[in-house]
């Protein structure tokens, strides 16, 4: 057996593995608790002591997507439940009167998230290419300026943005929020994409230019396909930011363009906070991000440090 001084010994590996696994279990517990609470009934969710396994119900999800009213026994008997979700509601002496606002809020998150992601990646790719390939006066200062916009506390610029949007008729609109999130994400997309484009050898483009391609053709036929992975992971980081953003959303939107993060905490049931419904909303909202995180794990470090640390 070969001996290496840098290879940890067997027992060392075991102890390290156990400690990390213990931390991992503690850290994942609150997330599992959100998911499991979303499948509990309202009474089971607030049982004392807390129940790990309760009776499985989709009541939380039904409450999340519908609004309900209490019905008299006669009225319930006169209208027998037609669907499985009617049945869940009926059993509690309620009837569904319409959809809740969660669907709308979720769609707002999707529209604003994808809209701002597309714009910030589009503009970011152009700027990153220019910063990577051309000589631009004051390049370093411009790049630092772009990064520094991220240091600003959202609340500090929220007042004039609030006034500005009111003046331009952009307050509480999708367009306004898309523009705002695009601006916030540009620093991330320019810095990340510049790193990715820097890694593409210039020789490819130069060969294309010699073959008679124009700059534009070289850019979209040679550089863009090479940068595809980088562009995709940048897009996911921008999407996750816009998806999670709360401060601007809570200050600048209300009835029309409100996204899910300010909405989910306001879900209240008939008798106090409806935790299964809140958990259901959180589950639907958080699980896509968890999936993206797992897909992105190779580029994660790069994304969260704006490209400062590359593995």
């Amino acid at each position: 057996m070969s001996y290496s001084v840098t290879e940890p010994s067997k027992p060392q590996k075991w102890i390290a593995g156990l400690l990390v696994a213990a931390y991992g279990i503690i850290t994942i517990l609150p997330l599992l608790w959100i998911i499991s609470t979303s499948f509990k009934s309202q009474n089971d969710a607030i049982a004392y002591p807390p129940e790990v396994f309760s009776e499985f119900t989709l009541g939380g999800y039904v409450n999340l997507f519908t609004t309900q009213t209490r019905q008299s026994a006669e009225a319930l008997e006169a209208n027998p439940p037609e669907t499985w979700y009617d049945e869940i509601v009926h059993e509690r002496g309620m009837a569904i009167v319409g959809p809740s606002r969660f669907g709308e809020r979720f769609m707002n998150s999707v529209i604003i998230g994808f809209g701002s992601t597309f714009l910030s990646v589009f503009l970011g790719t152009l700027a990153a290419y220019a910063f990577s390939r051309f000589r631009i006066p004051l390049k370093d200062d411009l790049l630092f300026f772009i990064l520094s916009t991220r240091m600003m506390p959202p609340i500090a610029v929220a007042i004039p943005i609030f006034l500005m949007f009111r003046g331009l008729g952009l307050s509480d609109t999708h367009a306004g929020m898309i523009l705002l999130y695009t601006a916030v994400n540009l620093s991330l997309s320019v810095w990340l994409l510049k790193g990715f484009i820097d890694e593409i050898p210039r020789e490819y483009e130069e060969a294309a230019l010699i073959d008679g391609y124009t700059r534009f053709q070289a850019f979209y036929k040679v550089v863009l396909p090479q940068a595809a992975t980088g562009i995709a992971s940048t897009a996911i980081f921008c999407l996750i930011f816009a998806w999670n953003e709360y401060a601007f959303a809570v200050l600048l939107t209300s009835g029309n363009a409100q996204t899910a993060p300010p909405f989910i905490p306001t879900i209240i049931g008939v008798t106090g906070q409806d935790w299964p419904a809140v958990a259901a909303g959180a589950t639907i909202f958080l699980v896509p991000v968890m999936v993206f995180t797992i897909l992105l794990r190779k580029h994660l470090l790069r994304g969260i440090t704006f490209g400062a640390v590359r593995k």
Binding site: V5, T6, P8, Q12, K13, W14, A16, G17, V20, Y23, G24, T27, I28, L29, P30, L31, W33, I46, P49, P50, L126, A130, F134, R135, I136, F145, I146, M151, P153, I155, A156, V157, A158, I159, P160, I161, M164, L179, T182, A183, S187, T214, F216, N244, Y246, V250, A260, I264, P265, A279, A282, L286, M290, F292, R297, L300, I304, T305, V309, K311
Partner: protein, 315 residues
């Protein structure tokens, strides 16, 4: 057959717009590519910032658009710096900032060091540990109020089980002494993986040959740790602290959902206080001055820190 329709189309296309584009110099293209980004950032970041600075010298109130706006000079700034409540929020912020950074650096570094023992399945556990960091702080913070419920909450039950205390004998977010720690715990849970990932990159950047050389010189494991591992990881660690410091100085979403700044003002961090002044008390001019102070502080501290970071890197 050079005369097929598609060929004619192909020769016809590079006219007009296309010819103009073809003629553009690299310099022009560079500006066309950069200009939209710079323009958008000026419009949505710098213009509002300048507006904030201007408002900070006035007594303007958004909810009274018809009242006369007076130029009050530095009065807003004076009032803020002499306000004991503002200093109380600064203290709450400092407590939050220092403890989250200390805990995240210690736990994050330890985890990275353990993961770097390269045991089987370390990739899987790294991915699991990283999950909380990417989630919406507002949604997660809101759910933690459920975990912190005195009787039915998972946190109190687990802590009660481990320490023997009754789960309903303490309330993390209702108790004046515990509330500042409740936000530290959740932030540490969320962001330790961030420090961990950066430390891991630092540890993996150290070439094996350095340790091999140290081994030849019979340096003890302890000595190797302090003279090789720590100095080599330090620049990475400082970068992690910079990111966490800036983020937590601006902290709003997680804490607002978790404690709402209470009980009393014990967890009212600066950003939360600022939001109240600007959007609940509607003292726009005063809040603008507050925002300027906050921004100058973040920017100033970050600049000093970056200088220190560069010095460490040079060594």
């Amino acid at each position: 057959m050079p005369d097929s329709p598609s060929d004619r189309l192909a020769t016809a296309t590079p006219s007009g717009v296309a010819r103009t584009i073809r003629g553009l110099s690299d310099r022009t293209i560079a500006w066309i590519f950069v200009a939209p980004t710079i323009f958008l950032l000026l419009a949505i970041n710098i213009f509002p910032l300048i507006w904030t600075i201007r408002l900070s010298f006035t007594n303007y109130r958004v909810n009274r658009p018809n009242a006369d706006v007076e130029w009050v000079g530095l009065q807003n700034y004076q009032r803020i710096l002499n306000d004991p409540d503002v200093w109380a929020t600064m203290q709450a912020t400092a407590h939050f900032l220092i403890w989250t950074i200390v805990l995240q650096v210690l736990i994050g570094f330890a985890l990275a060091w353990l993961i770097n023992r390269k045991f089987k399945g370390n990739d899987l556990w790294t991915t699991i540990i990283v999950l909380p960091m990417m989630l919406s702080p507002a949604v997660v913070g809101n759910f933690w109020t459920f975990l912190y419920q005195p009787q039915i909450g998972l946190f109190n039950t687990v802590v009660g089980y481990l320490t023997g205390a009754a789960p309903d004998s303490f309330s993390m977010i209702g108790d004046v002494a515990l509330a500042p720690w409740s936000i530290v715990i959740v932030d540490t849970w969320m962001w330790t993986p961030f420090v961990m990932l950066i430390c891991l990159a630092g540890l993996r950047s150290i070439p094996d040959s350095i340790y091999e050389a140290a081994e030849c010189d019979r340096a003890s494991a302890w000595r190797q740790f302090w003279t090789i591992t720590v100095p080599m990881v330090l620049p990475f660690l400082m970068l992690a602290v910079l990111f966490r410091g800036i983020e937590n100085f601006k902290m709003f979403d997680l804490v607002v959902q978790l404690t709402g700044g209470g009980p009393g003002n014990t967890t009212t961090l600066t950003a939360i206080d600022l939001k109240r002044e600007a959007f609940e008390r509607w003292r726009t001019g005063y809040a603008s001055a507050y925002a300027v102070i906050l921004f100058v502080t973040v920017f100033g501290l970050a600049s000093i820190y970056v200088k220190a970071l560069n010095k460490v890197k040079e060594r």
